[in-house]
Symmetry: D2
Subunit: 144 residues, 4 copies
Protein backbone atom coordinates (compact mmCIF):
# COMPACT_ATOMS: atom_id res chain seq x y z
CA UNK A 1 0.00 0.00 0.00
CA UNK A 2 1.49 3.25 -1.04
CA UNK A 3 1.36 6.40 1.06
CA UNK A 4 -1.73 8.54 0.65
CA UNK A 5 -1.39 11.45 -1.71
CA UNK A 6 -1.06 14.68 0.21
CA UNK A 7 -3.64 17.37 -0.44
CA UNK A 8 -3.90 21.04 0.47
CA UNK A 9 -6.29 20.42 3.36
CA UNK A 10 -3.59 18.37 5.09
CA UNK A 11 -1.54 21.53 5.75
CA UNK A 12 -2.91 24.01 8.31
CA UNK A 13 -0.50 26.84 7.43
CA UNK A 14 0.55 28.24 4.05
CA UNK A 15 3.09 30.76 2.81
CA UNK A 16 3.19 32.01 -0.78
CA UNK A 17 6.76 31.88 -2.12
CA UNK A 18 7.35 33.38 -5.57
CA UNK A 19 10.04 31.63 -7.56
CA UNK A 20 13.09 33.61 -8.72
CA UNK A 21 14.76 33.69 -12.10
CA UNK A 22 17.81 31.78 -10.95
CA UNK A 23 15.75 28.99 -9.35
CA UNK A 24 15.38 27.55 -12.85
CA UNK A 25 18.20 25.27 -13.88
CA UNK A 26 19.51 24.44 -17.33
CA UNK A 27 16.53 22.15 -17.98
CA UNK A 28 14.08 25.01 -17.46
CA UNK A 29 12.60 23.87 -14.14
CA UNK A 30 13.27 24.78 -10.55
CA UNK A 31 16.42 22.99 -9.41
CA UNK A 32 15.95 20.17 -6.87
CA UNK A 33 18.06 22.06 -4.33
CA UNK A 34 15.85 25.11 -4.22
CA UNK A 35 12.84 23.15 -2.93
CA UNK A 36 14.64 22.89 0.39
CA UNK A 37 14.94 26.65 0.48
CA UNK A 38 11.16 26.83 0.20
CA UNK A 39 11.02 24.35 3.10
CA UNK A 40 13.19 26.36 5.47
CA UNK A 41 11.60 29.62 4.41
CA UNK A 42 8.06 28.54 5.34
CA UNK A 43 9.37 26.98 8.58
CA UNK A 44 11.50 29.89 9.75
CA UNK A 45 8.92 32.51 8.76
CA UNK A 46 6.43 30.71 10.97
CA UNK A 47 8.85 30.35 13.89
CA UNK A 48 9.67 34.06 13.77
CA UNK A 49 6.21 35.45 13.11
CA UNK A 50 4.08 33.04 15.16
CA UNK A 51 6.58 31.62 17.65
CA UNK A 52 8.64 34.68 18.48
CA UNK A 53 11.98 33.13 17.47
CA UNK A 54 14.71 35.80 17.54
CA UNK A 55 17.22 34.66 14.94
CA UNK A 56 19.57 37.56 15.66
CA UNK A 57 20.00 37.45 19.43
CA UNK A 58 17.92 34.59 20.84
CA UNK A 59 19.61 32.04 23.11
CA UNK A 60 18.00 29.13 21.31
CA UNK A 61 18.49 28.19 17.67
CA UNK A 62 17.08 25.42 15.50
CA UNK A 63 19.58 23.07 13.86
CA UNK A 64 18.62 20.88 10.90
CA UNK A 65 19.29 17.19 11.50
CA UNK A 66 17.45 15.52 8.64
CA UNK A 67 15.57 16.63 5.53
CA UNK A 68 13.91 14.79 2.66
CA UNK A 69 11.99 15.71 -0.47
CA UNK A 70 9.97 13.73 -3.01
CA UNK A 71 9.47 15.51 -6.32
CA UNK A 72 6.17 14.83 -8.08
CA UNK A 73 5.57 17.60 -10.64
CA UNK A 74 7.99 20.18 -11.94
CA UNK A 75 7.58 23.88 -11.27
CA UNK A 76 9.29 26.76 -13.04
CA UNK A 77 9.91 30.46 -12.73
CA UNK A 78 7.75 32.62 -12.66
CA UNK A 79 5.40 30.24 -10.82
CA UNK A 80 4.35 31.12 -7.30
CA UNK A 81 4.62 28.25 -4.80
CA UNK A 82 2.11 27.74 -2.01
CA UNK A 83 4.18 26.12 0.73
CA UNK A 84 2.04 24.15 3.18
CA UNK A 85 3.29 23.33 6.67
CA UNK A 86 2.20 20.99 9.43
CA UNK A 87 3.91 19.40 12.44
CA UNK A 88 4.23 15.64 12.18
CA UNK A 89 5.92 15.01 15.53
CA UNK A 90 6.54 17.40 18.39
CA UNK A 91 9.16 16.17 20.85
CA UNK A 92 10.85 17.73 23.86
CA UNK A 93 13.75 19.31 21.97
CA UNK A 94 12.94 18.41 18.40
CA UNK A 95 10.19 18.80 15.86
CA UNK A 96 9.43 17.15 12.56
CA UNK A 97 7.84 19.50 10.08
CA UNK A 98 6.01 18.12 7.05
CA UNK A 99 5.87 20.35 4.01
CA UNK A 100 3.84 20.23 0.83
CA UNK A 101 4.58 22.46 -2.16
CA UNK A 102 1.81 23.31 -4.60
CA UNK A 103 1.99 25.48 -7.67
CA UNK A 104 -0.47 28.32 -7.17
CA UNK A 105 -3.67 27.31 -8.91
CA UNK A 106 -2.91 23.58 -8.86
CA UNK A 107 -4.72 21.06 -6.68
CA UNK A 108 -2.08 18.37 -7.19
CA UNK A 109 1.01 18.49 -5.04
CA UNK A 110 4.33 19.33 -6.70
CA UNK A 111 6.62 18.07 -3.94
CA UNK A 112 6.43 16.88 -0.38
CA UNK A 113 8.97 16.29 2.31
CA UNK A 114 9.99 16.72 5.89
CA UNK A 115 12.54 18.64 7.94
CA UNK A 116 13.67 17.81 11.48
CA UNK A 117 14.90 20.61 13.75
CA UNK A 118 16.63 20.15 17.09
CA UNK A 119 16.64 23.22 19.27
CA UNK A 120 19.98 23.96 20.94
CA UNK A 121 21.57 26.80 22.87
CA UNK A 122 23.42 29.17 20.59
CA UNK A 123 26.56 28.90 22.70
CA UNK A 124 27.00 25.25 23.63
CA UNK A 125 24.95 23.72 20.83
CA UNK A 126 23.39 21.38 23.43
CA UNK A 127 19.73 20.37 23.00
CA UNK A 128 17.25 22.26 25.12
CA UNK A 129 13.47 22.02 25.55
CA UNK A 130 11.59 23.88 22.83
CA UNK A 131 10.86 27.39 24.19
CA UNK A 132 7.27 27.90 25.31
CA UNK A 133 6.30 30.46 22.68
CA UNK A 134 7.57 28.28 19.86
CA UNK A 135 5.94 25.17 21.33
CA UNK A 136 2.58 26.90 21.49
CA UNK A 137 2.90 27.94 17.85
CA UNK A 138 3.95 24.46 16.76
CA UNK A 139 1.08 22.78 18.61
CA UNK A 140 -1.31 24.67 16.35
CA UNK A 141 0.15 22.86 13.35
CA UNK A 142 -0.30 19.33 14.68
CA UNK A 143 -3.00 17.59 12.65
CA UNK A 144 -5.63 15.50 14.43
Amino acid sequence: MSAPVETRDRYPHFLAIPTRWKDNDIYGHVNNVEYYSYFDTVICSYLIQSGGLDIHKGDVVGVAVETKCTYRRSVAFPDVIDAGLRVGKLGNSSVRYEIGLFRQGDAEIAAEGYFVHVFVTRGTQKPVPIPAGIRTALEKLVMA
Copy 2:
Protein backbone atom coordinates in the same frame (compact mmCIF):
# COMPACT_ATOMS: atom_id res chain seq x y z
CA MET B 1 26.88 67.51 -6.81
CA SER B 2 25.82 64.06 -5.76
CA ALA B 3 23.20 62.02 -7.55
CA PRO B 4 19.61 62.58 -6.46
CA VAL B 5 18.26 60.10 -3.98
CA GLU B 6 15.93 57.68 -5.69
CA THR B 7 12.34 57.49 -4.43
CA ARG B 8 9.47 55.11 -5.01
CA ASP B 9 7.75 57.40 -7.48
CA ARG B 10 10.75 57.11 -9.79
CA TYR B 11 9.87 53.48 -10.56
CA PRO B 12 6.77 52.84 -12.70
CA HIS B 13 6.64 49.08 -12.03
CA PHE B 14 6.97 47.11 -8.79
CA LEU B 15 7.20 43.46 -7.83
CA ALA B 16 7.03 42.24 -4.23
CA ILE B 17 9.83 39.75 -3.54
CA PRO B 18 9.80 38.04 -0.13
CA THR B 19 13.25 37.27 1.24
CA ARG B 20 14.19 33.68 2.00
CA TRP B 21 15.88 32.22 5.06
CA LYS B 22 19.12 31.55 3.26
CA ASP B 23 19.36 35.08 1.85
CA ASN B 24 20.72 36.12 5.25
CA ASP B 25 24.43 35.72 5.61
CA ILE B 26 26.52 35.18 8.73
CA TYR B 27 26.14 38.84 9.71
CA GLY B 28 22.36 38.53 9.82
CA HIS B 29 21.54 40.58 6.73
CA VAL B 30 20.77 39.73 3.15
CA ASN B 31 24.01 38.90 1.37
CA ASN B 32 25.19 41.43 -1.24
CA VAL B 33 24.92 38.80 -3.97
CA GLU B 34 21.24 38.15 -3.49
CA TYR B 35 20.28 41.73 -4.37
CA TYR B 36 21.15 40.90 -7.96
CA SER B 37 18.74 38.01 -7.84
CA TYR B 38 16.02 40.49 -6.92
CA PHE B 39 17.15 42.56 -9.91
CA ASP B 40 16.88 39.78 -12.46
CA THR B 41 13.67 38.47 -10.92
CA VAL B 42 11.79 41.76 -11.33
CA ILE B 43 13.24 42.20 -14.82
CA CYS B 44 12.51 38.72 -16.15
CA SER B 45 9.06 38.56 -14.54
CA TYR B 46 8.20 41.73 -16.41
CA LEU B 47 9.65 40.52 -19.71
CA ILE B 48 7.65 37.28 -19.48
CA GLN B 49 4.37 38.64 -18.17
CA SER B 50 4.21 41.99 -19.98
CA GLY B 51 6.52 41.44 -22.96
CA GLY B 52 5.70 37.87 -23.91
CA LEU B 53 9.28 36.61 -23.59
CA ASP B 54 9.33 32.82 -23.94
CA ILE B 55 12.32 31.70 -21.88
CA HIS B 56 11.83 28.04 -22.78
CA LYS B 57 11.56 28.09 -26.58
CA GLY B 58 11.86 31.66 -27.80
CA ASP B 59 14.41 32.48 -30.50
CA VAL B 60 15.61 35.56 -28.67
CA VAL B 61 17.21 35.63 -25.23
CA GLY B 62 18.53 38.44 -23.06
CA VAL B 63 22.18 38.27 -22.05
CA ALA B 64 23.55 40.30 -19.12
CA VAL B 65 26.47 42.53 -20.07
CA GLU B 66 26.84 44.81 -17.06
CA THR B 67 25.27 45.10 -13.62
CA LYS B 68 25.89 47.36 -10.65
CA CYS B 69 24.43 47.82 -7.17
CA THR B 70 24.86 50.47 -4.47
CA TYR B 71 23.82 49.30 -1.01
CA ARG B 72 22.29 51.97 1.26
CA ARG B 73 20.37 50.21 4.04
CA SER B 74 20.50 46.60 5.09
CA VAL B 75 17.53 44.28 4.75
CA ALA B 76 17.03 40.90 6.40
CA PHE B 77 14.83 37.85 6.26
CA PRO B 78 11.82 37.81 6.72
CA ASP B 79 11.51 41.27 5.13
CA VAL B 80 9.57 41.62 1.90
CA ILE B 81 11.31 43.67 -0.79
CA ASP B 82 9.45 45.96 -3.14
CA ALA B 83 11.54 45.88 -6.30
CA GLY B 84 11.00 48.94 -8.48
CA LEU B 85 11.84 48.89 -12.17
CA ARG B 86 12.24 51.53 -14.86
CA VAL B 87 14.02 51.69 -18.22
CA GLY B 88 16.90 54.15 -18.30
CA LYS B 89 17.94 53.65 -21.89
CA LEU B 90 16.24 51.72 -24.66
CA GLY B 91 18.50 50.93 -27.61
CA ASN B 92 18.09 48.86 -30.73
CA SER B 93 19.35 45.58 -29.27
CA SER B 94 20.02 46.55 -25.70
CA VAL B 95 18.25 48.00 -22.71
CA ARG B 96 19.43 49.48 -19.45
CA TYR B 97 17.09 48.73 -16.57
CA GLU B 98 17.30 50.76 -13.38
CA ILE B 99 16.17 49.06 -10.22
CA GLY B 100 15.38 50.33 -6.74
CA LEU B 101 14.86 48.01 -3.78
CA PHE B 102 12.75 49.16 -0.85
CA ARG B 103 11.90 47.27 2.29
CA GLN B 104 8.12 46.97 2.42
CA GLY B 105 6.86 49.81 4.59
CA ASP B 106 10.00 51.95 4.17
CA ALA B 107 10.10 55.15 2.16
CA GLU B 108 13.91 55.23 2.03
CA ILE B 109 15.62 53.15 -0.61
CA ALA B 110 17.65 50.11 0.52
CA ALA B 111 19.64 49.61 -2.67
CA GLU B 112 19.72 50.85 -6.22
CA GLY B 113 21.45 49.70 -9.35
CA TYR B 114 21.25 48.92 -13.01
CA PHE B 115 21.34 45.93 -15.33
CA VAL B 116 22.10 45.98 -19.06
CA HIS B 117 20.63 43.30 -21.30
CA VAL B 118 21.61 42.65 -24.90
CA PHE B 119 19.10 40.60 -26.84
CA VAL B 120 20.65 37.86 -28.99
CA THR B 121 19.47 34.85 -30.95
CA ARG B 122 19.51 31.71 -28.87
CA GLY B 123 21.52 29.87 -31.48
CA THR B 124 24.20 32.24 -32.72
CA GLN B 125 24.31 34.58 -29.73
CA LYS B 126 24.39 37.51 -32.21
CA PRO B 127 22.61 40.74 -31.21
CA VAL B 128 19.19 41.26 -32.74
CA PRO B 129 16.65 44.08 -32.55
CA ILE B 130 14.51 43.87 -29.44
CA PRO B 131 11.33 41.95 -30.40
CA ALA B 132 8.27 44.17 -30.85
CA GLY B 133 6.26 42.80 -27.93
CA ILE B 134 9.13 43.29 -25.53
CA ARG B 135 9.91 46.77 -26.89
CA THR B 136 6.33 47.86 -26.36
CA ALA B 137 6.44 46.64 -22.78
CA LEU B 138 9.79 48.34 -22.13
CA GLU B 139 8.64 51.67 -23.56
CA LYS B 140 6.04 51.81 -20.80
CA LEU B 141 8.84 51.87 -18.24
CA VAL B 142 10.74 54.83 -19.71
CA MET B 143 10.43 57.82 -17.39
CA ALA B 144 9.74 61.27 -18.78
Copy 3:
Protein backbone atom coordinates in the same frame (compact mmCIF):
# COMPACT_ATOMS: atom_id res chain seq x y z
CA MET C 1 20.37 -1.68 15.43
CA SER C 2 21.37 1.62 13.96
CA ALA C 3 22.82 2.05 10.50
CA PRO C 4 26.58 1.70 10.21
CA VAL C 5 28.52 4.92 10.22
CA GLU C 6 29.71 5.77 6.76
CA THR C 7 33.45 6.17 6.22
CA ARG C 8 35.57 7.54 3.41
CA ASP C 9 36.45 4.10 2.06
CA ARG C 10 32.76 3.48 1.35
CA TYR C 11 32.84 6.04 -1.48
CA PRO C 12 34.76 5.11 -4.65
CA HIS C 13 34.70 8.61 -6.18
CA PHE C 14 35.44 12.00 -4.63
CA LEU C 15 35.17 15.61 -5.73
CA ALA C 16 36.60 18.51 -3.72
CA ILE C 17 34.02 21.30 -3.40
CA PRO C 18 35.18 24.53 -1.75
CA THR C 19 32.48 26.29 0.24
CA ARG C 20 31.49 29.84 -0.71
CA TRP C 21 30.97 32.86 1.49
CA LYS C 22 27.23 32.86 1.05
CA ASP C 23 26.88 29.17 1.94
CA ASN C 24 27.10 30.24 5.59
CA ASP C 25 23.80 31.21 7.11
CA ILE C 26 23.03 33.54 10.00
CA TYR C 27 24.22 30.93 12.51
CA GLY C 28 27.68 30.81 10.94
CA HIS C 29 27.46 27.35 9.37
CA VAL C 30 26.66 26.09 5.90
CA ASN C 31 22.89 26.25 5.39
CA ASN C 32 21.09 22.89 5.22
CA VAL C 33 19.95 23.64 1.67
CA GLU C 34 23.43 24.00 0.25
CA TYR C 35 24.38 20.41 1.09
CA TYR C 36 22.09 19.32 -1.73
CA SER C 37 24.00 21.54 -4.09
CA TYR C 38 27.15 19.63 -3.16
CA PHE C 39 25.18 16.45 -3.88
CA ASP C 40 24.10 17.41 -7.38
CA THR C 41 27.47 18.95 -8.17
CA VAL C 42 29.42 15.75 -7.48
CA ILE C 43 26.77 13.70 -9.32
CA CYS C 44 26.53 15.85 -12.43
CA SER C 45 30.28 16.43 -12.66
CA TYR C 46 30.72 12.69 -12.73
CA LEU C 47 27.96 12.14 -15.31
CA ILE C 48 29.49 14.75 -17.61
CA GLN C 49 33.15 13.92 -17.18
CA SER C 50 32.98 10.13 -16.87
CA GLY C 51 29.65 9.29 -18.50
CA GLY C 52 29.60 11.70 -21.41
CA LEU C 53 26.31 13.36 -20.44
CA ASP C 54 25.69 16.38 -22.67
CA ILE C 55 23.64 18.75 -20.53
CA HIS C 56 23.31 21.30 -23.33
CA LYS C 57 22.09 19.24 -26.27
CA GLY C 58 21.74 15.61 -25.21
CA ASP C 59 18.45 13.81 -25.82
CA VAL C 60 18.44 12.32 -22.35
CA VAL C 61 18.32 14.26 -19.08
CA GLY C 62 18.31 13.18 -15.45
CA VAL C 63 15.33 14.27 -13.35
CA ALA C 64 15.46 14.25 -9.53
CA VAL C 65 12.67 12.22 -7.95
CA GLU C 66 13.79 11.92 -4.32
CA THR C 67 16.60 13.31 -2.18
CA LYS C 68 17.47 13.02 1.51
CA CYS C 69 20.21 14.28 3.79
CA THR C 70 21.19 13.52 7.39
CA TYR C 71 23.36 16.21 9.00
CA ARG C 72 25.95 14.96 11.51
CA ARG C 73 28.58 17.68 11.94
CA SER C 74 28.46 21.29 10.88
CA VAL C 75 30.76 22.73 8.25
CA ALA C 76 31.48 26.37 7.52
CA PHE C 77 33.07 28.63 4.94
CA PRO C 78 35.98 28.55 4.11
CA ASP C 79 36.05 24.75 4.60
CA VAL C 80 36.60 22.54 1.59
CA ILE C 81 34.20 19.60 1.31
CA ASP C 82 35.25 16.22 -0.01
CA ALA C 83 32.09 14.88 -1.61
CA GLY C 84 32.10 11.09 -1.87
CA LEU C 85 29.87 9.29 -4.35
CA ARG C 86 28.76 5.70 -4.84
CA VAL C 87 25.86 4.03 -6.60
CA GLY C 88 23.48 2.24 -4.23
CA LYS C 89 21.06 0.90 -6.82
CA LEU C 90 21.31 0.87 -10.59
CA GLY C 91 18.00 0.24 -12.34
CA ASN C 92 16.92 0.30 -15.96
CA SER C 93 15.96 3.98 -16.09
CA SER C 94 16.86 5.12 -12.61
CA VAL C 95 19.81 5.26 -10.28
CA ARG C 96 20.16 5.86 -6.57
CA TYR C 97 23.33 7.75 -5.70
CA GLU C 98 24.62 7.72 -2.14
CA ILE C 99 26.70 10.68 -1.09
CA GLY C 100 28.93 11.34 1.90
CA LEU C 101 30.30 14.79 2.71
CA PHE C 102 33.51 15.12 4.71
CA ARG C 103 35.29 18.26 5.75
CA GLN C 104 38.75 18.13 4.21
CA GLY C 105 41.07 16.76 6.86
CA ASP C 106 38.31 15.09 8.88
CA ALA C 107 37.80 11.33 9.09
CA GLU C 108 34.28 11.65 10.53
CA ILE C 109 31.44 12.22 8.10
CA ALA C 110 29.69 15.61 8.14
CA ALA C 111 26.56 14.59 6.26
CA GLU C 112 25.23 11.67 4.25
CA GLY C 113 22.30 11.21 1.97
CA TYR C 114 20.96 9.93 -1.28
CA PHE C 115 19.62 11.24 -4.57
CA VAL C 116 17.47 9.34 -7.07
CA HIS C 117 17.62 10.25 -10.75
CA VAL C 118 15.26 9.02 -13.44
CA PHE C 119 16.55 9.45 -16.96
CA VAL C 120 13.98 10.81 -19.41
CA THR C 121 13.92 12.17 -22.94
CA ARG C 122 14.34 15.93 -22.99
CA GLY C 123 11.27 16.35 -25.14
CA THR C 124 8.61 14.00 -23.80
CA GLN C 125 9.95 13.61 -20.26
CA LYS C 126 9.25 9.85 -20.56
CA PRO C 127 11.64 7.42 -18.82
CA VAL C 128 14.23 5.78 -21.04
CA PRO C 129 16.95 3.21 -20.40
CA ILE C 130 20.10 4.78 -18.99
CA PRO C 131 22.41 5.51 -21.97
CA ALA C 132 25.29 3.05 -22.35
CA GLY C 133 28.11 5.51 -21.62
CA ILE C 134 26.48 6.68 -18.44
CA ARG C 135 25.64 3.14 -17.33
CA THR C 136 29.24 2.05 -17.77
CA ALA C 137 30.40 4.98 -15.64
CA LEU C 138 27.80 4.29 -12.96
CA GLU C 139 28.66 0.60 -12.75
CA LYS C 140 32.14 1.63 -11.60
CA LEU C 141 30.60 3.24 -8.53
CA VAL C 142 28.63 0.20 -7.36
CA MET C 143 30.18 -1.14 -4.16
CA ALA C 144 30.63 -4.88 -3.66
Copy 4:
Protein backbone atom coordinates in the same frame (compact mmCIF):
# COMPACT_ATOMS: atom_id res chain seq x y z
CA MET D 1 39.72 55.54 -25.53
CA SER D 2 38.36 52.38 -24.00
CA ALA D 3 39.66 50.85 -20.79
CA PRO D 4 42.58 48.47 -21.15
CA VAL D 5 41.68 44.81 -21.27
CA GLU D 6 42.50 43.14 -18.00
CA THR D 7 44.92 40.22 -18.08
CA ARG D 8 45.93 37.57 -15.57
CA ASP D 9 49.18 39.33 -14.64
CA ARG D 10 47.15 42.28 -13.35
CA TYR D 11 45.91 40.19 -10.41
CA PRO D 12 48.45 39.31 -7.70
CA HIS D 13 46.24 36.73 -5.94
CA PHE D 14 44.12 33.90 -7.35
CA LEU D 15 41.61 31.42 -5.98
CA ALA D 16 40.25 28.49 -8.00
CA ILE D 17 36.46 28.31 -7.68
CA PRO D 18 34.75 25.32 -9.27
CA THR D 19 31.30 26.05 -10.63
CA ARG D 20 28.30 24.14 -9.29
CA TRP D 21 25.46 22.49 -11.14
CA LYS D 22 22.91 25.06 -10.07
CA ASP D 23 25.09 28.01 -11.14
CA ASN D 24 23.87 27.34 -14.69
CA ASP D 25 20.64 29.06 -15.55
CA ILE D 26 17.99 28.11 -18.09
CA TYR D 27 20.19 29.35 -20.95
CA GLY D 28 22.97 26.92 -20.02
CA HIS D 29 25.47 29.43 -18.67
CA VAL D 30 26.39 30.65 -15.23
CA ASN D 31 23.75 33.12 -14.07
CA ASN D 32 24.84 36.76 -13.83
CA VAL D 33 24.13 36.75 -10.09
CA GLU D 34 26.54 33.98 -9.27
CA TYR D 35 29.56 35.96 -10.49
CA TYR D 36 29.20 38.13 -7.42
CA SER D 37 29.40 35.04 -5.26
CA TYR D 38 32.76 34.32 -6.85
CA PHE D 39 33.72 37.90 -6.01
CA ASP D 40 32.92 37.71 -2.33
CA THR D 41 34.33 34.21 -2.03
CA VAL D 42 37.80 35.20 -3.28
CA ILE D 43 37.69 38.37 -1.15
CA CYS D 44 36.54 36.78 2.11
CA SER D 45 38.81 33.75 1.72
CA TYR D 46 41.73 36.13 1.48
CA LEU D 47 40.63 38.26 4.44
CA ILE D 48 40.28 35.15 6.62
CA GLN D 49 43.33 33.25 5.50
CA SER D 50 45.79 36.09 4.95
CA GLY D 51 44.32 38.90 7.06
CA GLY D 52 43.13 36.99 10.11
CA LEU D 53 39.50 38.15 9.83
CA ASP D 54 37.36 36.28 12.35
CA ILE D 55 33.91 36.15 10.76
CA HIS D 56 32.38 34.36 13.76
CA LYS D 57 33.47 36.48 16.72
CA GLY D 58 35.57 39.38 15.46
CA ASP D 59 34.62 42.92 16.52
CA VAL D 60 35.04 44.24 13.00
CA VAL D 61 33.05 43.17 9.94
CA GLY D 62 33.17 44.20 6.29
CA VAL D 63 29.97 45.62 4.80
CA ALA D 64 29.43 45.81 1.04
CA VAL D 65 28.64 49.32 -0.19
CA GLU D 66 29.00 49.01 -3.95
CA THR D 67 29.63 46.22 -6.45
CA LYS D 68 29.80 46.08 -10.23
CA CYS D 69 30.44 43.43 -12.87
CA THR D 70 31.05 43.54 -16.62
CA TYR D 71 30.41 40.24 -18.39
CA ARG D 72 32.67 39.49 -21.37
CA ARG D 73 32.53 35.76 -22.07
CA SER D 74 30.11 33.17 -20.75
CA VAL D 75 31.19 30.36 -18.47
CA ALA D 76 29.27 27.21 -17.62
CA PHE D 77 29.27 24.30 -15.20
CA PRO D 78 31.51 22.27 -14.87
CA ASP D 79 34.10 24.98 -15.65
CA VAL D 80 36.55 25.97 -12.93
CA ILE D 81 36.95 29.72 -12.46
CA ASP D 82 40.27 31.33 -11.58
CA ALA D 83 39.26 34.36 -9.55
CA GLY D 84 41.95 37.06 -9.58
CA LEU D 85 42.06 39.72 -6.87
CA ARG D 86 43.86 43.02 -6.45
CA VAL D 87 43.30 46.13 -4.34
CA GLY D 88 42.46 49.22 -6.37
CA LYS D 89 42.16 51.69 -3.52
CA LEU D 90 42.99 51.27 0.14
CA GLY D 91 41.43 53.89 2.39
CA ASN D 92 41.24 54.34 6.13
CA SER D 93 38.03 52.38 6.67
CA SER D 94 37.27 51.17 3.19
CA VAL D 95 38.83 49.18 0.40
CA ARG D 96 38.04 48.76 -3.26
CA TYR D 97 38.80 45.27 -4.53
CA GLU D 98 39.12 44.64 -8.25
CA ILE D 99 38.32 41.15 -9.44
CA GLY D 100 38.91 39.33 -12.71
CA LEU D 101 37.32 35.99 -13.51
CA PHE D 102 39.00 33.66 -15.99
CA ARG D 103 37.88 30.24 -17.09
CA GLN D 104 40.67 27.83 -16.19
CA GLY D 105 42.78 27.39 -19.27
CA ASP D 106 41.67 30.65 -20.91
CA ALA D 107 43.88 33.71 -21.29
CA GLU D 108 40.96 36.02 -22.06
CA ILE D 109 39.00 37.41 -19.17
CA ALA D 110 35.41 36.21 -18.67
CA ALA D 111 34.26 38.99 -16.35
CA GLU D 112 35.68 41.85 -14.35
CA GLY D 113 34.36 44.04 -11.64
CA TYR D 114 34.86 45.68 -8.30
CA PHE D 115 33.59 45.43 -4.76
CA VAL D 116 33.83 48.12 -2.07
CA HIS D 117 33.94 47.10 1.58
CA VAL D 118 33.60 49.44 4.54
CA PHE D 119 34.80 47.99 7.82
CA VAL D 120 32.49 48.64 10.76
CA THR D 121 32.11 47.44 14.33
CA ARG D 122 29.80 44.45 14.58
CA GLY D 123 27.75 46.17 17.27
CA THR D 124 27.29 49.78 16.23
CA GLN D 125 27.87 49.36 12.49
CA LYS D 126 30.04 52.53 12.63
CA PRO D 127 33.09 52.72 10.35
CA VAL D 128 36.43 51.93 11.97
CA PRO D 129 40.00 51.92 10.70
CA ILE D 130 40.86 48.72 8.88
CA PRO D 131 42.48 46.37 11.46
CA ALA D 132 46.27 46.11 11.16
CA GLY D 133 46.40 42.46 10.15
CA ILE D 134 43.90 42.96 7.38
CA ARG D 135 45.59 46.16 6.20
CA THR D 136 48.94 44.40 5.92
CA ALA D 137 47.35 41.66 3.86
CA LEU D 138 45.55 44.15 1.61
CA GLU D 139 48.70 46.19 1.00
CA LYS D 140 50.21 43.13 -0.65
CA LEU D 141 47.48 43.25 -3.28
CA VAL D 142 48.01 46.88 -4.32
CA MET D 143 49.47 46.99 -7.83
CA ALA D 144 52.31 49.34 -8.63
